[in-house]
Symmetry: C2
Subunit: 271 residues, 2 copies
């Protein structure tokens, strides 16, 4: 397997420290401390945090200690800080996060067992997709499938499905933003993407090859809430040499319907 | 199955609004907004948040909007607020959270498949245990096994293991605090618990029956980091009529060793 994008879960643009000058409120400065952490910055010293958060050392020191007392941060024996378990506990309350995962899990497990591929459950957040569950095949590339990962919509199966069913203005907003290329096969041409989105709406299924890693293929379908709106998307990633596209679409659709039956009305309609 | 404790994941004492008067810093008021959410309070109105956080409506309004812009909160069509996905993304960076889960997952899946019980991976946080992974048997009680759940140590298999290997002063601190009874079988007598902890240290295995739900039995063992310190505990919950205690201890110990081999030195030594 060729991993063409080593950035993996680190796609999300990490905050530009230059931005932090705009953090004028006290609450904003606290969020700047949390924003200092990212997939490539999981363990930071106090001065890392101050620099990345655009804060003075004394402000960073005070806020870090307040966040540590609360459980949002932890400190290791070498004085480096990392994200603490209070945030896992809080994030478990997110209706579109671990709550959705909870409803979907048995069906995702079935899907994983039936396909032996990587299985993702993704929801739209801002202009990206966040994985609320990721079950990995052991033999497969571990880079791209972690709970909490954020990816751009144009490059992932779940993202393409969510984008295809989003409001037209939102689609244009995404298509007119800079689209990153993760592999030589990542489609970044807006016209080609528009045709892809139309085809996804028509067939109900997204099929994409090598968008992030070559030679992978992803098949994805929407998950509807009780009101018939697209609440999430579910995908399976297999080797592109796998010729089971139709079969995969079938088992995905079954899983998606099973998940839908467990969902109430969409918990969040304002994004 | 008799569920004797309907509190489920709602054990963690939710903040007493009366406490919030002590939130004198701006950062503290922001944390008070987040603290307003809990397992039994996943969806709140603005005035719920103000009341539970001990904040004025206008302060709550300002902070809620700041947290919403950042992604920590989301608002639904009815104007109710819930926890947002930015917190899931952040919590995925916790080395003792989804990071540990990541290393352990394939072994927990094996354990689940071998035992058909509920499988938990728990770490110590404050005076409780937080589940960083929970794989549920479909036929079993869904109440007590969710990622991000926080439970008291004396009532859970993982908690008893973590407590047995904690420093003596910490053990006494926990044993001298009020110990909640979740079922008629929950052991809350400090002397009996001290004997239990000694036996866990001697045998390497915790076995407890009906501590939270009757008629369940839990078997749990420690997971060591590369430095030989107890970094986590893994447990399996089965029906108490199941006579496989020794077999379960065997497969748990295998899984624990397999997880240990994937761990580096403990990421966090100061708790």
């Amino acid at each position: 397997m060729t991993v063409t994008a080593e950035r993996g879960p680190g796609w999300a643009p990490e905050p530009d420290p230059g931005d932090a000058g705009r953090r004028v409120t006290a609450a904003g400065r606290m969020l700047a401390v949390l924003d200092a952490f990212g997939p490539r910055h999981r363990s930071l010293t106090l001065s890392d945090i101050a620099r990345r958060g655009g804060l003075s050392l004394s402000t960073a020191h005070r806020l870090v200690h307040e966040l540590m007392a609360w459980g949002a941060l932890e400190r290791d024996g070498e004085g480096r800080y990392s994200v603490g378990l209070r945030l896992l506990e809080l994030s478990a309350l997110a209706p579109r996060g671990l709550g959705l995962r909870e409803a979907a899990y048995p069906h995702l497990e079935d899907l994983h067992r039936a396909t032996r591929g990587n299985v993702h459950l993704g929801v739209r957040d801002g202009t990206g997709v966040v994985y609320v569950e990721a079950i990995r095949a052991r033999v497969r590339n571990p880079v791209n499938s972690r709970v909490g990962d954020r990816w751009p919509m144009h490059a992932t199966g779940t993202g393409l499905v969510l984008l295809a069913h989003a409001e037209p203005e939102f689609q244009e907003q995404v298509l007119s933003s800079p689209l990153e290329r993760f592999s030589p096969m990542t489609v970044i041409d807006p016209d080609e993407l528009r045709r892809t989105l139309a085809s996804i709406r028509q067939t109900g299924v997204a099929v994409a090859r090598g968008q992030i890693t070559v030679p992978d293929m992803v098949v994805a379908v929407p998950v509807l809430d009780a009101g018939g709106r697209v609440a999430a998307a579910v995908s399976v990633v297999v080797e592109a040499t796998d010729e089971r596209t139709r079969e995969l679409a079938g088992v995905l659709t079954q899983a998606s319907r099973a998940i839908s039956r467990t969902l109430g009305p969409s918990p969040v309609t304002e994004l």
